[in-house]
């Protein structure tokens, strides 16, 4: 059953015909509808949108931390269709430590974006070809973009000087 706010949206209808319970929630934002997808079906939904709905490019992936709310993380996928000149945003809600399947098998370009989300938020991606830190040094402790991570880091403080 589709959430009411996107009952008319063609992309939502296409997804729900193929995967009836994939869209768990939806919202209308300032730039259009966004869909919350069931984390277990993200690769299937992305593959379907790429092959059948013309979303040929992944513009990016990022995370949002809503700590102390639970579930804590949102992983956001920005999809772009060149043939239809359309954009869609898929969101996935994840608890801390919960794994999500990598979409690198759908778009190769997801590689660095997923590494960045892993590096900054500590969200583990299953079946990622090379899940390492990308911005921070390999031995860095903590995940900087988490809300409970202080802006100046754990180890260094201006007060020490």
């Amino acid at each position: 059953m589709l959430p009411e706010v996107v009952a008319e949206d063609p992309t939502a209808i296409a997804i729900s015909q193929q995967f009836p319970d994939a869209i768990v929630d939806a919202k209308n934002e300032a730039d259009g509808a966004v869909f919350y997808i069931d984390p277990a079906q993200i690769v299937a939904v992305c593959g379907f949108l790429k092959d059948s709905a013309g979303f040929d490019q992944l513009a990016g992936i990022t995370g949002v931390d809503w700590w102390p709310r639970a579930p804590r993380f949102e992983v956001v996928y920005f999809l772009h269709s060149y043939p239809h000149n359309a954009r869609v945003r898929l969101l996935v809600r994840l608890a801390e430590g919960q794994e999500i399947d990598s979409v690198t098998s759908v778009w190769r370009g997801a590689n660095w974006y997923e590494r960045e989300v892993f590096d900054m938020f500590g969200v583990p991606f299953r079946d990622h070809p090379n899940l390492e830190r990308i911005m921070m040094p390999a031995d860095w402790e903590g995940y900087p973009l988490r809300k409970d991570y202080p802006v100046h880091g754990y180890k260094y403080s201006y007060r020490d000087e």
Partner: protein, 421 residues
């Protein structure tokens, strides 16, 4: 070799022919004294990386077997810092993301916040934004052209392009007081009233640029060394470019007609008459042609903006988010209260999220701003074109010659501040 360096002790017992040289070169031989594969570190301090990028190249003779870009040397945590700043303070951070196209970053962030706030920008401010962003596009392309030509051995264009770029930076200084970190486009309009005499100054620069662009084309387009260094180099099939998330001039040089200025119109771009240049060459030379044509189109847009500039206010009518006029503050109590509230508390943005896209000189620039209803953004994600494009470097370099790596890297036109944020 370094004095006192124990050459024998450095031999790895597992791979007895692997010799780690202190200069960073690593050889592995085939046992007959002939080096077969070599791992070469390009960067992080290498002039052709235009910043601090490290590329780990695996070479067979002069052919690149694999290339692995390593980024993060310029990571400054700008996205984290945005979360503790107020909405109006983030503008100065957006300047520092892509330090060659500051105004485009200002614009993208301003548009995102304005969309969340539901603020309408007056026509004069919109046209002024377009004019300045196109000047910025030209100045960014001038840096690309000068350094690209210098990377492959042509010294002269560098001096000519930087001569013209300086003129553009003087215009920015005239408008905002800063040559590079302008922060001139802000949520709600512009930072300051455009200075007296701007029209004359910009039209003089536009004429100069129009001449200059043809001068660079004369130097390079038919130059046999330039053509030999750039043609049939660094191409990838269009579907691979798509999968890797490439945007901007690289994609247009592969024949895909896409431009955020046309596809998702903003800031009155639909009122301007310009073309989106494409080529089908899909190599370094085609990217050169696309960017040269983009500069010509940008000059066209600047001239149209000069001819048809509407009159009106340079800021939106939004007293809840814009600082009041200084004179009013001294005479009216409401203005003083607004000033005090905005400076001390900032302005609250309604909860929600928005993904705003503009066309930066390097490709699709997107700002994803999430608001939780307070005066600080909950999350600002910068979808930067350099990060997306640089990911294709490994695929582009596979199988090419080492000398071509420099040309390919220059043709991607990445900015490391933009990549690492």
């Amino acid at each position: 070799m370094r004095e006192g360096y124990d050459h024998v002790a450095s031999l790895d017992p597992e791979h007895e022919l692997a010799i780690e040289d202190p200069s960073g070169l690593k050889f592995s031989g085939d046992g007959a004294g002939r080096a077969r594969k070599m791992t070469l570190n390009m960067g992080p301090q290498h002039p052709s990386t235009h910043g601090v990028l490290r590329v780990v190249l695996e070479l067979d003779g002069e052919t690149i077997i694999s290339a692995r870009p390593e980024i993060g040397y310029l990571h400054t945590g700008i996205e984290k810092e945005c979360e503790v700043k107020k909405y109006q303070q983030v503008v100065t951070l957006t300047d520092r993301v892509d330090y060659l196209s500051n105004l485009n970053n200002n614009l993208c962030y301003a548009l995102a916040v304005e969309r969340l706030m539901g603020v309408e920008i007056p026509a004069f401010a919109q046209w002024m934004r377009v004019m300045l962003c196109e000047l910025q596009r030209i100045s960014s392309h001038l840096v690309w052209l000068g350094t690209h030509a210098m990377d492959v051995g042509a010294m002269t264009p560098y001096f000519y392009t930087f001569r013209e770029r300086e003129e553009i930076l003087k215009i920015f200084e005239m408008f905002s007081g800063q040559r590079m970190m302008t922060s001139y486009i802000r949520p709600g309009g512009l930072a300051l009233e455009p200075p007296r005499g701007w029209h004359k100054a910009v039209s003089r620069v536009a004429d100069r640029l129009a001449d200059g662009i043809e001068q660079y084309a004369d130097l390079l387009t038919a130059n046999p060394i330039w053509v030999n260094r750039t043609k049939h180099v660094g191409g990838l099939p269009v579907n691979v470019l798509m999968e890797l998330g490439i945007t901007g001039p690289i994609l247009r040089a592969a024949g895909v007609k896409t431009d955020a200025r046309k596809d998702c119109p903003h800031s009155s771009y639909d009122k301007f008459d310009f073309e989106v240049p494409t080529r089908t060459g899909n190599d370094v030379f085609a990217r050169y042609e696309v960017r040269m044509e983009e500069m010509r189109q940008s000059v066209r847009i600047v001239r149209q903006a000069l001819d048809g500039m509407p009159s009106g206010p340079w800021q939106a009518d939004a007293p809840h988010m814009l600082l009041p006029d200084r004179e009013k503050m001294k005479t009216q109590m409401e203005s003083l209260i607004y000033h005090f509230k905005i400076v001390t508390e900032g302005y609250r943005v309604p909860p929600g999220s928005v993904y705003q896209v503009v066309e930066s000189p390097r490709g699709e620039l997107g700002y994803y701003v999430v608001s939780d209803g307070t005066a600080n953004p909950h999350r600002v994600f910068m979808r930067t074109p350099s990060f997306g494009n640089l990911q294709a470097l490994g695929a582009m370099l596979e199988g090419t010659l080492l000398a071509d790596a420099v040309a390919v890297m220059a043709s991607i036109d990445f900015v490391l501040g933009d990549t690492d944020r």
